[in-house]
Subunit: 246 residues, 2 copies
C-alpha cells in the first residue's frame, strides 16, 4: 500500500509520499515513490506513484527517459513536454503503453493492473498545475475548491485536510498539515511506512524549494506526532459539553 | 453504508450510529441502526448494526423477540440472557441462524452476506462489556488498551479516536469525540447520513443515561462541526514550523 498527498496552493506545491512497498505483510521494502524532473529556471515536475510497483516503475522509466508516443510518433518525456497539460498527457499515454505491454498477461495471472499517479509542477511560460492520472491514462486536476489530491490509502488522512486546507494558506504551514495527514495514516495502516519524502515548490521558481526525507528519528516529525495528539486533546477538552450532558 | 462507533470507558458506554441505508446512491432511506433492550435496574443492552439491512433486521428481531437456539434447544433473547457474554453468544447464534436460512440463496444471487454488530451493556451481577460480532457469529471484546470499536465506514473517523480516546476519560467529554468522529465520516462518505442516534450509559445504573437523536439542525452538533474545524486550524497554526522551512 501507499499514501501520497499533494496540495496545490496559491503560492506553491507541497507533496509528500511514504516509501513502503509490500507483497503481503511479510514482504515489505523501501522504495521512493517520488521522482523529480528538474531543469532549474525552466521546469520542475514531480511525480508520486501508487499501485503495482512493476507498473509504476515502468511508467516512471518511460516518462523520464522518453518513449515513442504512438499518438505523436515522437520520442517524448517530461523533459520535452512544452507545458504541464502536455506532461500529464505524456504520463497518461505511458500508463496505456505499459498496460498494452503487460495488461493481458497480468490479467491472465489474476494480477490487477493498478496505477495512480500525482503529477505536480510548472514549466516556464505556463501555470503551476497538479494532476491525478488514473490507470486508464485519463486524469483530473486539482482546483481552488479542492486544492488537494491523494492516492493510495487516503481515508485516514483526509479529515484533517477537509477541515484545515485552504487554497490561500501559507505554503510552509501546509507542511504541518501533510505531516499530520501522513501520521494519521501511518498509525492505522501498517503497509504505509516511514521514511517519508517531502517536496515543496514555490510558484514561478522553477526549482524545488525543499526536498527532504524524514525518518523515525527526525526530531521535527516526532515533535509533530506528539504535539498534535496533545493539541487535539486540549482542543476537545476546551469545547463545551452539550446542555443535556453536564 | 453505515458508521457506528462505541466506547467502553471506565465509567460507562458511549454509542453513536448514523441512520442512512442505501441500495446504490440513488436509493437512500433512514433507518435507526440502534436498538435498546432495557429493564431498568436489571439490564441495559444496546445493539448497533451494519451490513445488509434484511440480514441485520432479521438478527435484531431474533434477539429481541426470542428464537429457538439450536445449541441450547431453548427460546432465548437479550431479555433472557443471564450475562453479557451469554448475550453476545445469543447474537452470534442469531447471525448464524439467519445465515443458515438465507445465506445460500443470497450467494446464488450474488448478494454478500454482510453483518457487523456492536453489542454493549450490563446485566445486574456482571460487568459492563462491549463486543463486536462478525458475520460468522464469532466476536471480539473491547479492552482497556483499545476501548473503542467501530463498524461500517470506519477509516475517516478513526484518527481522532486513536489520538484522543483513553479508558479513563470523562464519559460526557467522550460524547464530543464520537460526534467529531462521526462528522469526519459524514463529510467524506455520502452513504453515511444524518440524523444520528446517541446513547450514553453510566456503569452500574442499569438504565440508559442519555438517548438522543441529533439532526442537521441540532444546535450542539452544528456547534461541534464548526468549532472543531476552527480548533484544528488554530492548533496547527500554533505548532512551530520546522527549522528548515521558516
Amino acid at each position: 500500500m501507499t499514501y501520497c498527498v499533494a496540495l496545490r496552493l496559491r503560492d506553491g506545491l507541497v507533496m509528500l509520499s511514504d516509501t513502503r512497498t509490500n507483497a503481503g505483510v511479510d514482504n515489505i521494502a523501501t522504495f521512493s515513490k517520488m521522482r523529480v524532473v528538474e531543469m532549474p529556471g525552466e521546469r520542475m515536475i514531480a511525480l508520486m506513484t501508487s499501485g503495482n510497483l512493476a507498473v509504476t516503475q515502468a511508467v516512471v522509466n518511460h516518462v523520464t527517459e522518453g518513449f515513442n508516443r504512438p499518438s505523436s510518433g515522437k520520442v517524448e518525456s517530461l523533459v520535452t513536454a512544452p507545458d504541464m497539460f502536455h506532461a500529464a498527457e505524456v504520463v497518461g499515454e505511458a500508463v496505456r503503453e505499459v498496460f498494452g505491454a503487460h495488461g493481458a498477461t497480468m490479467e491472465a495471472q489474476n494480477i490487477k493492473f493498478e496505477a495512480s499517479i500525482l503529477l505536480g509542477g510548472q514549466i516556464a511560460g505556463g501555470p503551476m498545475r497538479l494532476f491525478e492520472i488514473y490507470a486508464a491514462g485519463n486524469f483530473i486536476e486539482a482546483s481552488e475548491d479542492t486544492p488537494f489530491l491523494q492516492i493510495g490509502e487516503h481515508k485516514y488522512g483526509k479529515p484533517i485536510l477537509d477541515r484545515a486546507v485552504s487554497y490561500d494558506m501559507q505554503l510552509y504551514d501546509a507542511i504541518k498539515l501533510v505531516l499530520v495527514s501522513m501520521d494519521s495514516t501511518l498509525r492505522s495502516n501498517l503497509t504505509v511506512g516511514l521514511p517519508i519524502d517531502l517536496l515543496v515548490y514555490k510558484k514561478d521558481e522553477f526549482k524545488t524549494d525543499i526536498r527532504r526525507r524524514l525518518g523515525e528519528d527526525d526530531p521535527y516529525f516526532r515533535h509533530i506526532r506528539e504535539d498534535w495528539s496533545t493539541a487535539l486533546r486540549e482542543a476537545y477538552l476546551r469545547m463545551p459539553r452539550p446542555d443535556w450532558a453536564k
